[in-house]
Amino acid sequence: MGRGGARDGAAAAPPWHSLPDEVLEHAFSFLPAAADRGAAAAVCHGWLGAERRSRRRLAVANCYAAAPRDAVDRFPSVRAAEVKGKPHFADFGLVPPAWGAEAAPWVAAAADGWPLLEELSFKRMVVTDECLEMIASSFRNFQVLRLVSCEGFSTAGLAAITEGCRNLRELDLQENYIEDCSSHWLSYFPESFTSLETLNFSCLEGEVNFAVLERLVSRCRNLKTLKLNNAIPLDKVASLLRKAPQLVELGTGKFSAEYHSDLFAKLEAAFAGCKSLRRLSGAWDAVPDYLPAFYCVCEGLTSLNLSYATVRGPELIKFISRCKNLQQLWVMDLIEDHGLAVVAGSCSKLQELRVFPSDPFGAGQVLLTERGLVDVSASCPMLESVLYFCGQMTNEALITIAKNRPNFTCFRLCILEPRTPDYVTRESLDAGFSAIVESCKGLRRLSVSGLLTDLVFKSIGANGNCLEMLSIAFAGNSDLGLHYILSGCKTLKKLEIRDCPFGNKPLLANAAKLETMRSLWMSSCSLTLGACRQLAEKMPRLTVEIMNDPGRTCPVESLPDDSPVETLYVYRTIAGPRSDTPDYVQIV
C-alpha cells in the first residue's frame, strides 16, 4: 500500500490517501457518535466526502441552524433523522403560539432527497396532518415515527401513518397535543400488518376502538413497548397483557377503578405472565389496593414512571421498595422524605431520580425537603441524574450531596419559591451549588434555583468544564454573573435564563462565545434593543430574535436603542434569518 515506495527512495504518499472510499466509509461506520464522525470529516477533503456520503443518522438540534435542503444534499444517505424546533422554555409556556418550527419544510426536503428514509423524529415542532400524509406516502421503507412535544396534527394524520406505512415498527407519541377527529386511526392498520414493536399513544385524549387494539396487539408478536392512554380501563389492560406477555415496557391506562377482588385477581394473573416487563408507567389515580397486583414484576423493573400518579402513602412506598433493580424512578413529591429514605435503602442501582411537584402553585405544606435528596445521594452509588422539585434547601445539604455523589452528570434542582435562601442560615445557596460544580467534574447539565448571587456563577464558570446546558432563573445581582458564565464554561451549548438582572455588557463582551454555542435564551432580563442590534451586526452567523408582547405590532426598526427587550433568543445558523417569524418575533 505504497510502502514499497520508501525503499525506492521516492517520497511515499501517506497510505490513507489511496484508500478507496468504500474502505473509508466502512471504517467510519464504526464511529457511532456524530461528534466523532464530524471530527473525521474535518481531516481532509477525501474523508469529508466519504463521511458525509455514508452518514446514516442525522441529528439537527435546532431546525433553524441549517436549511432542510442543504442538510439533505450534504448527507444523501441518511436513514434516520431527528429534528428539534422550539426553545426548551416553550415547554413551560414561555413561547406564544405560532412561533414557528414547522416540520413541513423538513418533510418535504426528506421526501425529495431521502427516499430510503426509515426513521423520523421531531421534538417541539409543528407537525401537520399534511406532514404525516407526506411521510406515509414518500418513504417505502418507513419504520419509526417519534413525535415528542409536538402539535398541529390530529388523529386523521395518524390514520394516514397507520394506513400507509406498511413496515412500521415504532409509533411513539410522547406528550404531544393531538386533535381528536375521532377518525379510527388504529383501524387503518391492515389485518396483515404485524411488524409493530412500539406503540405509544399515552398522550391521546380520545377513545380508541378496544377490539381493534386487542387484535393488533395479538398479531404483533414483536410488540415490546405498549403505552396506553387514559381511555383504557384497568380490566382491559389485563386482557391486553394476556395477549402480549412478551412486553418489555407498559404504560397503563386509567388506573382509578374501584377495588374489586376479581379484577385484582385478573390483573395479578396477567402480570404474573409478563416475565420480560422492565419498564412501567401510567396515569395512576391509583387505588392503592391494586398495587400488590404488580408485586410479581417489581423485581424485574428497571424503570418506573409514577410522575402522573397521585397515589401516595405506605402502599406506594411498599411497592417501590420491592423494585430492587430500579435504575430510573420518576415520582411525585407525594412520596415525601420518608418515602425517599426507603428508596435509598432499597434501590441500590438507582441512576436517575426525578421528583415532580404535586401542587406546583399551591401554598400547601412542604411535602419534600432536602432530606430526601440527601438520603438518596448518600445510599445510591450509581445515581448520576437528578431532577428535584422541593420546598426548601440548605448549603449543608448540597455540600453533603456533592461530597457523596461526585459522579453527577445532570443536576437540576428547583426550589419552588424563587430566591429562597438557605432556610437555616438565611444565606444564599452559592456555597451549596459551588460545591456541586466543584465536586462533579463530569457535570453536563445544571439547573440552579433559590437565592443566588453572582459568586455562584463565578464558580460555575470556573468549574463547569463539561457543562453543556445551564438553566438559570431569578438569580444573580449584576452583569458580572452572566459574564462569568459566558467567559467560562468552555463546552457550553445551551444557556437559558429568565428573570435575572443581566444586561447588555456581558452579552456584547462575549459575542464570539455565542457562535460556539447552540443557543441562548434570555427573558425578563435587562437587555435593550441597541445591544441586540450591535450583537447582530457583529456576528453575522448568529440569528438574533427579539420577542415582545404579542399585542405590540409596531416594527422593531422604528424603536429606539434603549427600548427594553422582553425576550432574546440567539442561535448560530448557516441558513441566514428565517422567513417564517410571527408578528411578535423580530429578527434584528
Partner: protein, 149 residues
Amino acid sequence: MELELGLAPPNDAGSCGKRRSAEAFGVKKPTLPLFLRDDDDDGDHGNGEDDTGDARDCEISMGNKRKRLVGWPPVKSAHRPRSNSHVKVKMEGVPIGRKVDLSRHASYHQLHHTLRLMFPSTSHHGDPYAVTYEDVDGDWVLVGDVPWE
C-alpha cells in the same frame, strides 16, 4: 364548569355587565401583567407593561398562595393537574364560535394572541379586543381582573 368568552369591539359597552362605564375600556389596558413582580424588581422589565399598579394589587390579594408566575415552576403542562380547560369563544357579529384550550396558554397575553389569530379583524387594526366571560353569577366580566390561574 362551562365557561364562555365573548369578544366585542371596544366601544360596545353593552356586552359587559360589570363594567358599564366607558372608562373601563379606556383606562384598563387590554394586556395584563405577564407575571407578578417582587418588590425588588425594577419597574421596567420590557414586557410591555407600564401599569405596575395592577401587579401590586394582585400580589396583595394573593395572600398565602404562591405568587403566580408565567412558566414557573418549570413543569410541563402534562404534569400539571388536569382539568377540562376548553372554553367556547364567540365574537359579536361572527356566527360561528371557536373553542380554546386554556391549559395550553400560560398568560392572558397568549390567550389574546390566540384569539386574535382565531378572529382576525382588519377594521380594528391596533385596537384591542374586549374579551369578556360570563362568571358564576351570570354577569359578563372583563377578562384579566383575576390572576391567570
